[in-house]
Symmetry: D2
Subunit: 137 residues, 4 copies
């Protein structure tokens, strides 16, 4: 099974992705796009998409991008994440594109952008991922 198929299956089987409403979009090696239609429960007390919701789709897109760039059998665990909120958003369809910028022997570095339907950048994020083999852990 190719990488797209493997990721699709993993996402499809995931209670987390279903609960969150995340759908897998385009997959290339090292670049993965996710989609989220904002619902009422994604919105904070002030009527805007919750910062944690936007952080989650950025982290998910970066994690899958890293996963798509390493050989099967290596884990990807988030070590640290930075999220910058450029514009608030209240509703609509969001897309998050994660990109593995550098994959090393132990660590990977990825970046993500979350955009609204009109392609405006809402969030820029970056993440550090541990990609050691499970047996090394």
């Amino acid at each position: 099974m190719d990488r797209t198929g493997e990721l699709s299956e993993a996402v499809h089987d995931s209670a987390f992705y279903r609960w969150f409403g995340l759908r897998l979009g385009d997959v290339e090696p090292g670049v993965v796009t996710l989609h989220l239609e904002l619902a009422e429960h994604h919105v904070n007390i002030q009527g805007l998409a919750h910062g944690g919701v936007l952080a989650t789709i950025a982290d998910a897109a970066m994690g899958l991008a890293v996963r798509s760039a390493v050989e099967p059998g290596r884990r990807h665990v988030t070590v640290a994440m930075d999220v910058h909120y450029l514009r608030p958003v209240a509703r609509g369809a969001l897309s998050a594109t994660g990109r593995a910028v550098r994959v090393g022997r132990e660590l990977a570095f990825a970046e993500a952008e979350v955009a609204d339907e009109r392609g405006r950048s809402l969030v820029r994020a970056s993440g550090t991922y541990s990609v050691s083999r499970p047996t090394e852990d």
Copy 2:
């Protein structure tokens, strides 16, 4: 109504908090604790609490801590957040304590720690929040 009552009501009325499973714990001015019982849908493909879930409870605790420290009527919008993952966690009850470290005229800075049932630190986070009055925006 006091600050604790105001936050309790806001959280109780929030579709986001219900959906996520977040419950409000202790509230002091500038310090707010949230609780989350990890469920199957909070867990990633690898069986560990999703980085975005942990980021969300940290952001929520920091945002409420900032809200509890500013006068009513000022917004709190996340400008940026850093999340550091110290230990993975697979199940159990988590608590996140947010603390408003500094509240200025336009910006606030907060920190959060997410811990497991045994009090072990899982996540350390910090956030920058815009706290301008709505009319100034």
Copy 3:
């Protein structure tokens, strides 16, 4: 005087830039490049360029990029900075390119990349800057 001239003069007059060894390169509105020839005193105990040195040229390039993108008379003060170290470097000529990604009424967001002589990315950084007018402060 145009923006490039204004930045050149400011950098030329700066004791900080002389001490650090930073030279101004290309300037476009919102995009500024700085150059640094690594010297013995930029290197840490382990023989590699100090993390703070690399953070400094990233911050300086982002700050000038923001300055080049706002009207004269507005300050730019670093609110927060994230720095990611992708590859160590021991010697040679570095260049840092800062880019103002978004400039708002109160805050600006910028990104920077530090590269070595062969163009390899050593550092990716992002920064949040306060750009309020001095009289508003």
Copy 4:
């Protein structure tokens, strides 16, 4: 030679520390304080301590704190750093205290605070450090 002596010697022999003006203060296992007397060349175009200067003393204090907490022979290389600027400072004596919060097999996490003479917090920072043994690299 004990850890304090070893760090003192390393700092004393370092061209970087001399150039920057950094002096080693208290050293305990996992907690290291550095001192810096702000000079004209530490100040930016706007008359305030440069963001990079403050980031550097935070990174240096965290790096030494990590070094003081791991066995001799392990490197400490900055993987990522977040710096939050709470108050500007123009002059005087600064101190930076770094603290190793968690040291793992491959990674360490540290935090730092930079304060002015009156003990007011100027900067809060956190850093991720690679602490692998050289031979594993």
